[in-house]
Symmetry: C2
Subunit: 366 residues, 2 copies
Amino acid sequence: MKDKAAGRLQSLREKMATDNIDLLVLGPDSHMRWLLGFAPHADERPCVLFVSAASSAFLMPGLNAEDVAAQTDITLHRWGDGDGPSEALKSALYSFGARSPARIAIDETLRADHALLVLEMLPGVDYCYASSVVGALRLKKDSDERHGLTASARVNDGAMQAAFVAVRPGTTEREIAAVVQGYYLDHGAKPGFDIIGSGPNGAYPHHASGNRTIQAGDAIVIDIGGIYQGYPSDMTRMAFVGEPPEDYRQVHAIVDDALQAALAAARPGVKAKTVDAAARRIIEASGYGEYFTTRTGHGLGLDIHEAPYLSPTSETILEPGMVFSIEPGIYMPDRYGVRLEEIVYLTETGPDIFSRLPRDVHQGKA
Amino acid sequence: MKDKAAGRLQSLREKMATDNIDLLVLGPDSHMRWLLGFAPHADERPCVLFVSAASSAFLMPGLNAEDVAAQTDITLHRWGDGDGPSEALKSALYSFGARSPARIAIDETLRADHALLVLEMLPGVDYCYASSVVGALRLKKDSDERHGLTASARVNDGAMQAAFVAVRPGTTEREIAAVVQGYYLDHGAKPGFDIIGSGPNGAYPHHASGNRTIQAGDAIVIDIGGIYQGYPSDMTRMAFVGEPPEDYRQVHAIVDDALQAALAAARPGVKAKTVDAAARRIIEASGYGEYFTTRTGHGLGLDIHEAPYLSPTSETILEPGMVFSIEPGIYMPDRYGVRLEEIVYLTETGPDIFSRLPRDVHQGKA
């Protein structure tokens, strides 16, 4: 991992030079994990990595210091619970020399209080977000990342099949979610998230799995993901309790057509918004445009949501090595929702789908 | 929940008036959950609640809007993935009238990019953190919160016993963690966190459960917590594989003495730092002062770490209804760590411990 970290650090510094960034400011989150191969425990204690062209330093809560020192040679500016972080932060910033940075890139996921603690010590500094620097480097996945995401998707395929088995009248959304979470644990993964949206709840794209009891005639959105060896998964399939009526079958087919149109549009050199438009055109042409209320997709890497985003306005040009979701949906308030979601790795010739599961509706016993 | 939300909103506005706060700015996190009884799905999309003396408004990602509208009457300023949040944010801020707020309280846990999006629209505004406003109101728990935390602690007692059973030579830390997580799921809780620190790993207070294999002669820190019906739990006990040697027994006894001294010191009207000092004095007097590298405790409520913090410098005056951890430890690099942790509810007469488990070392078969 240290070799990989050295290579990534070099790429980062080249990018910082190109973008005129004097100092990078990262919290204990995914940007840091990508760069160093680890991130210390994150809590209310400010824990911040600073990287300049020539040097790097950590503002480090004392209780994490020994653990971190075993993993990196970066200088740690330690602070204790009794003293607070101010003096250690000053010494970390001073370690970069007397000249104040003119322009910094700050981790967009940093807690507000930690970010403002740093910004207030650098009055008048110009800032941008680390997403434009580290995030840009994270866009194209290397072979380790591709393998990690593939392995995680494989576990998720199993979790989806476990969810299908659990779908039956009388079961609650939360019980199905617990089956999925148990599957992750049994297979060496950590539960990530679960959206079990049954009946009208499926019309909420971000529904929190709740106490609603599954009934005959329910369409059920099953959008689940775990974390396997550090890599997340994310996939949506549909279940139906009993024989799906014709209107459901039509909507399901439209969403799958939209997904296939987006797959066909996703090629290196194409703008992300073009892929979004390909899916949206199908749904609009079918008369359901007003019910497709989300973007078409998001990137997936160390984060379950990261660049590239496939929205109607995204100018990002797709490149081989990018990994992203394609997940059109039709969300009809008070009725039901249909979403189908694939995660793909973009090759030179087009998208390679991680999941091996078909996108047909899973028909459960009524 | 709407009645409770109305009462809490009124308390909040009284506190805002006292503190001269014109506008409160909350993200979809625990402050919001405490205030409203729910928080929308949190992701990279800005989702912010604004509360003034007379009004309130939400900046709301479109895909969460229907879900939220079903739970609250607060006006939603919606934005879509294609357009971005700027216009909706302006309309939300304008809804509070032409006068700019002079002083705001901003959620310290908000993402940096979301916080700065708001702050840049309010140039020259004076800010403090929501911890001093909402956080202050959350310090004293009501009977629902006490019951919720008690029920969560009860599940955690069972999870700890499951962990004890899993401790045996040849098992990895991560396998013990998976047993604990499985216990939570089987008992209707969600996995929260796990620190299984075996042998020298126990000397890292925030060790991430890893691949180290348990060996005869290991001391093992087991610090675990789940989330049951929205309330977290948190507890640390020690296991030992085989017969603990005399030096371990002594260190364990010192930590337990420190914990008991803190329990005895924790009374309404006492400063938090006095409780910290009571524990620290015992460990220092035993010659292990340099190895007690953390504060003595933290509050627990909707968050696993919240006020009051029991540090050497905390001037917070303890009051009946507060809930906090007491968790002294001795962390000896390259050797082992011993931490014992209770969560207590402070009554008029002193602390009431949630857990029913003894703090003796659990002796596993070698």
